[in-house]
Amino acid sequence: MKPAPFEYHAPSSASHALELLARHGADARILAGGQSLVPLLNFRLSAPAVIVDLNRTADLAYIKEEGGSLRIGAMTRQRAIEFSALVRSRLPLLAEATRWVGHLPTRTRGTIGGSLAHSDPAAEYPAVVAALDGEIAIRNSGGERVVRAADFFVGFMSTALRPGEMLTEVRLTPPPPDSGWAFEEFSRRRGDFAIVGIAAVVAMERNRCRMARLAVCGAAPCAMRLRGAEEILEAGRIEERSVHNAATRAAELVDPPSDLHASSDYRRHLTRVLTRRALNRALARACRPEAVDA
């Protein structure tokens, strides 16, 4: 099938895009990488009256380091993130997870802003941004506001974005140098959306876990931090059972959907397995092999 007719605009700046969004209100959809929206247009599952194409904007694609954090423009391509030396050295978790996002040809067009705004429950980027405690900059005609990742992903395919607003930047602070990280995913085929995916970051101080961040995709209506599991790790010394207990708790925290590809129980089980695997790898990276749970 082919898309239904729409009015088309390709603004050259974020400001111009915002004007268009303000003018057209609920009639307008933003076109970023198109890897999620265009299939919907082609199936006519989505038939917006107006499309605001951000691919001609000059000021929304960048990766820069500023004041100790990385700022990534919303229109930055996943492919650019994949091959960015800056990302690889400062945010290796993001670089690693990117290799699981679709395929190289989809990463050529797909953007980080699009992935976060679309908030597919099984998408990898929302979980990574949640695990990194990222901040999301949102612009509207009134100005800018910043939302923490934990508050950005609110439900099934829905975010804190209000009508007329646009995600413009993601701010990610690299974890401390002594931290470890890991991304684990289980999918039916390479490049598919995750059945379940876990992003983990741990910062250690001797054998105390100073900070643990765990986020899951595929096991909830949207990317979710597993705070209860994080607290188990942050509670005291990391011992043999700590990872096992955190993984068990993680599985209790999720209420996964059931679909053609996986049942709710299986997803819950995978949450435990992948949390354990991710934590083991993250802790090993943080040079704490004695904490690894076989």
Binding site: F6, P105, T106
Partner: protein, 161 residues
């Protein structure tokens, strides 16, 4: 009814001009307006990869792009692989290793492989398989295609040395 927009672009080194409604897909514009039917339409939802072309030097799924987005761009389609009547090393390798049967996925496979080998000129077989999983094939079981891409990679990197 949205007006057709003017599109000027370069395809396989040649300048082209046309016009299209904003909703017209790039793959349809290539095939029908520019008569470049080498690029194929398989699924129209970005999974099968038969529509893969290069957009400003990088592989994209042309069924997920609008023709108007290609205004001012440089594209390469499968028709652009051969130069002066000589098949590209990848095409020769595909023929030699029986990497196509019905040929429907082949343009997508070639263009995806072409992009991939520019990014990773000396891949392992696993890396080739991962890259080729961007394009679906029903006929071959992928064995011949993987062999062809590995052979082409060896020849291409030898040629560069």
């Amino acid at each position: 009814m949205p007006e057709p927009q003017r599109i000027r672009l370069t395809v396989n080194g040649q300048p082209h001009e046309g016009s299209a409604e904003p909703r017209r897909l790039l793959v349809d514009f290539l095939r029908e307006d520019l008569a470049l039917t080498g690029t194929h339409v398989g699924c129209e939802h970005g999974i099968c990869g038969a529509c893969t072309i290069l957009f400003n030097g990088e592989a994209v799924r042309s069924c997920l792009m609008l023709a108007v987005q290609a205004d001012g761009a440089e594209l390469m389609t499968v028709e652009g692989l051969a130069r002066g009547g000589e098949l590209h090393i990848l095409q020769l390798a595909f023929r030699e290793h029986h990497a196509l049967q019905c040929g429907f996925c082949t343009p997508g496979m070639l263009m995806a492989a072409y992009d991939f080998l520019r990014v990773n000129p000396r891949p392992t077989e696993d890396e080739v398989r991962e890259a080729l999983s961007a394009v679906l094939c029903r006929c071959t079981g992928y064995q011949g295609i993987v062999r062809a891409v590995m052979a082409a990679a060896r020849r291409m990197s030898a040629a560069d040395e």
